[in-house]
Structure formats: structure tokens, C-alpha cells
């Protein structure tokens, strides 16, 4: 049994985002202001703004796997294979029953169910035309299960449903399982296929929370006065996590150490965020990491560009960080890639990890007129900012039904 306080490190990253299919490409675009939002035809609704990933599915899957499986499964397999390659692990020698796959998801099964209903609508709603693949495609563990099939992983492989807090949750859960000794190596993070379900778009539109803009790359605009809602995106980001001693034994490259986390619930509303609980979540994560607010050098916000949600997160951050954290920069990755739902937390963390090396904070773009209610000290707007030190990153990810997650990573060796 490893000690309950075993140190956990990130040793590999694999991702697909609307503006990049590798960490290097993603980071380059975050530093050069390249957003990844486009118009996409959505069933029953016509063209909508969306973040679409353009990875090569056949790089790691057979055509039949793509046909039979789901988009979330495909994204997950791509990210898992890329993360594994990046980790440098001798995969063939790794006991596959000691590997865990833990994937955060916002939802799963909407896409496949909508597709089947549309399919049988062409046959007068006769259910004998309903696909026999419906159940394996829609079970909640689908993307993790498809990844286990592709990789031959026989350890635990399942998803963690946590709305848009899920990306962080994949990492948190993996760290917990590594500390418990349940597994020796984890593939974890979050995935989303949500742009392929009209229901998500229609739901946000009915909620008056779906972004509109004439120029797609400018549509996702957290903190801007003219923000008018969420841009829905797909994506995925998986990490390889290991206990530090295992990683050091094999001479692995170490991206970061998991320093602390916290997960809590608002218990106050179906959709409205609760800044008091968010602040509690941030404070509890800091406490676990044994850090003070002033020790955090980069805060990556969850802000989705809804008029109220952004203000409330800023209120939570202001409550914790106040004016006494001169070395704390604050940014937002959704301004480039929209809201990648279950992948959001994992992708947004990845986009900031390189700051440990390049000492640059990527900006929040599309802020033409900063909302005074979002004017936090340390906000990095429109242009990247060179900073003297990045030893710690705090990553917020919040979701509907009031689930909050905060994850803190630190540069290894600090």
C-alpha cells in the first residue's frame, strides 16, 4: 500500500481542442490569439457557433471502431494514446490490470439517443429500426470502456459524471485511486462530444445562455461587457498520472505535481452558481495544498461568458484573493475554445501547464470592454503576459446542479 500522502505527478498529456490537437499546437495558439470557434450545422436548429475538434480519428482507431463507437469514445482514445506516447512509459511491459482510466463527463448518451430517434423517424418511428448498438453506445462508462478496449486495459475504467466540473474530477479521482493503491498508472481527465446533440444547444438557447456573434472566433468572450452566453464545444484531454516514486524510477518527464484539490456542492439551485460555495471550494483546495492565496501564481477561471456566472465567479475569486496577491495572474481559456463541457477543466489546465517553463500567462481574449464587475486584479487580457514566476496553477471548474471543483498543481521541485 502506498502512503495516503503519496505524491502524485503528471507525466503525459494528450489532447484535442478546437484549436489544437497536441499540447504544443494548443499552447502556440493560446499565445498567438488563435481561437477555434466556427459555425456548425445543428439538427433542427441550423448553423450554430461551436468549437469543433479536427483530430485524425484514424490515427489510433480502425474505421470500424469509429463507426461502431461514439465520438466521446473516439476523442478519449485519441487523447489516451497521445498521452501514453507523451509519457514515454514502456506500455507493453506495463501490467494492464494495474492501469485505471478515469474520465470526467458532463453527460453521455444524448448524442446517440437523438441519432436513433432521428433514424427511426425515417421509418415511421418503428422501433425495429433502432440500433442494437444503442445500449453500448449510451452506457455512462462508454468513453472509458471504449478506451479500455482500444488499449487492452483490464483495470478499472469508468466515467465520473460531474457536469462541467468533470474535467478536474477525472484528475482528482485518479490521484485518489493512486494514493489508495488501487492502480499504479492512471489515464484521466475529461472528454465531451456535446456539440453533436442539438438538445444541449436548444437547452442553453431556451435558457438564454447560448452565445451569438457575427464573427465566430470572437463569440466566446468571458468578462467582456458584451458577452452573451456560452459557445458549446467538444474536446478531450487525458493525462497520465503516477506516484512520484514510480515516475522517478523510470526517469519520466514530470509536467507538474498535484498539490491539492477540493470538490463541494452549492445545494442552492439547479443552474445558478453560488459564489459562497465556490469560494469555500477554492479555500479548501488551498488548505489541502498548504498554500495561501498569495502563493498561487496563476488562476485559470471557469467563466463561461454568461452574464451572471462570470460575475459570480469573480466574486468568489475576489473573496479569496482580494487585493493582496500581487503575483497572482488570472486568465480564461474558454475565450479561445468555448466551453468544452466535460473536457473543459482538463483542457484548460493543459493550456496553462507550459507556463511553468515559458513563464508566460496566456490571455483571456475578446475582451473589448471589461465588465467592471469582472475587473479582478491580475486579469491578463488580450495579450500574453510575461511573469517572473509560475510555480503554482489553480484551476476552477464548476457545473450545473451546483458542483464545484478546484485543482491546484505545482511545478515539480518547488
Amino acid at each position: 500500500m502506498p502512503p495516503a500522502t503519496a505524491r502524485i505527478v503528471i507525466t503525459g498529456v494528450g489532447l484535442t481542442a478546437p484549436n489544437g490537437n497536441s499540447l504544443a499546437e494548443f499552447r502556440r495558439n493560446l499565445l498567438t490569439g488563435v481561437a477555434g470557434i466556427e459555425r456548425m450545422e445543428i439538427r433542427y436548429m441550423g448553423p450554430q457557433l461551436a468549437g469543433v475538434c479536427h483530430y485524425d480519428a484514424l490515427r489510433h482507431q480502425k474505421k470500424k471502431e469509429v463507426r461502431v463507437g461514439t465520438r466521446a469514445g473516439s476523442i478519449s482514445i485519441y487523447c489516451a494514446r497521445e498521452a501514453l506516447a507523451d509519457s514515454g512509459l514502456a506500455w507493453d511491459a506495463m501490467p494492464k490490470d494495474r492501469v485505471g482510466i478515469y474520465l470526467g463527463i458532463t453527460e453521455h448518451g444524448n448524442v446517440e439517443t437523438e441519432n436513433e430517434i432521428y433514424n427511426i423517424s425515417k421509418f415511421n418511428y418503428d422501433t425495429k429500426y433502432w440500433s442494437h448498438y444503442h445500449n453500448p453506445r449510451t452506457v455512462a462508462n462508454n468513453p472509458a470502456g471504449e478506451t479500455s478496449l482500444n488499449l487492452g486495459v483490464t483495470g478499472p475504467a469508468y466515467t465520473i459524471g460531474a457536469a462541467c466540473a468533470a474535467g478536474n474530477m477525472g484528475l482528482v479521482h485518479a490521484a485518489q485511486m493512486l494514493r489508495l493503491g488501487e492502480v499504479d498508472f492512471a489515464l484521466c481527465g475529461g472528454v465531451s462530444e456535446s456539440i453533436h446533440t442539438f438538445g444541449i444547444f436548444a437547452g442553453f438557447k431556451s435558457q438564454n445562455a447560448l452565445a451569438t456573434h457575427d464573427d465566430p472566433p470572437k463569440a466566446s468572450r468571458p468578462f467582456d461587457l458584451a458577452r452573451n452566453g456560452i459557445v458549446i464545444s467538444e474536446g478531450g484531454c487525458l493525462y497520465t498520472l503516477e506516484r512520484l516514486d514510480d515516475a522517478q524510477k523510470r526517469g519520466a518527464k514530470i509536467y507538474a505535481e498535484i498539490a491539492g484539490w477540493h470538490v463541494n456542492s452549492d445545494a442552492s439551485d439547479y443552474v445558478l452558481p453560488n459564489p459562497t460555495r465556490q469560494a469555500e471550494c477554492i479555500r479548501a483546495a488551498l488548505a489541502r495544498a498548504r498554500l495561501a492565496p498569495r502563493d498561487i501564481h496563476l488562476v485559470n477561471t471557469h467563466a463561461t461568458a454568461t452574464p451572471l456566472g462570470d460575475i459570480q465567479e469573480c466574486e468568489a475569486i475576489r473573496a479569496v484573493f482580494g487585493d493582496g496577491c500581487p503575483d497572482t495572474s488570472i486568465n480564461n481559456t474558454k475565450s479561445f475554445i468555448g466551453h468544452c463541457m466535460g473536457a473543459a477543466g482538463a483542457l484548460e489546465l493543459a493550456g496553462n501547464l507550459p507556463s511553468f517553463d515559458d513563464l508566460t500567462v496566456h490571455p483571456t481574449i475578446n475582451v473589448d470592454h471589461l465588465d467592471p464587475q469582472c475587473a479582478l486584479p491580475g486579469l491578463v487580457l488580450n495579450q500574453p503576459r510575461k511573469v517572473a514566476k509560475v510555480d503554482t496553477i489553480l484551476n476552477n471548474s464548476f457545473g450545473m446542479l451546483g458542483i464545484n471543483s478546484t485543482l491546484i498543481v505545482r511545478r515539480f521541485g518547488t
Partner: protein, 85 residues
């Protein structure tokens, strides 16, 4: 509808459901599962596509008739003819 046309219909379906397979050397008299990577879900796909594309029903008791291209043609050709195809 000839038996050769019927075999081509089945092959066209298999090409869609098993897109990684090379179908140029499929032996008509040999069980499809012995020469291609097809599982039970794939055979359900063949049944579904016959239903969707051609209005042909294959009851579960008759699934074994789809074992090879030859047996498929023997079984399916009269069904196509009965539908006026």
C-alpha cells in the same frame, strides 16, 4: 434478382459495416466469420441493413442462413424476387 446480384448486395453491406476489411478475396462458399473479422453484432448489422435498405426481414431462427455469401444468396434471392426485385 440473380444470386450474383444478391451476393453483391450482401457484400456492399459488409463493406459498410466492416470498412477495414479487404473484400476482394471473399470466398462465396466459406463462412464469412472464418475469413473476415465479423462478430455477432456485425451480423445483426447485416440483418438491420437488409431491413432498412431492402425491406427484407430475416427472423432470428434464420440467421445461420447468412453464414456465407452462397448460403445468403440461396436464402435471400427468393425474398428479393417475392418483393418484385
Amino acid at each position: 434478382m440473380t444470386k450474383d446480384e444478391c451476393k453483391q448486395i450482401v457484400l456492399d453491406i459488409i463493406a459498410d459495416i466492416a470498412p477495414d476489411e479487404d473484400l476482394s478475396h471473399v470466398k462465396p462458399g466459406v463462412r464469412l466469420r472464418d475469413q473476415l473479422q465479423l462478430d455477432s453484432m456485425d451480423f445483426l448489422d447485416i440483418v438491420m441493413e437488409l431491413r432498412k435498405r431492402h425491406g427484407i426481414e430475416v427472423p432470428e431462427a434464420d440467421y445461420q442462413q447468412l453464414a456465407s455469401l452462397d448460403s445468403s444468396a440461396e436464402y435471400l434471392t427468393p425474398k428479393f424476387i417475392a418483393l418484385g426485385k
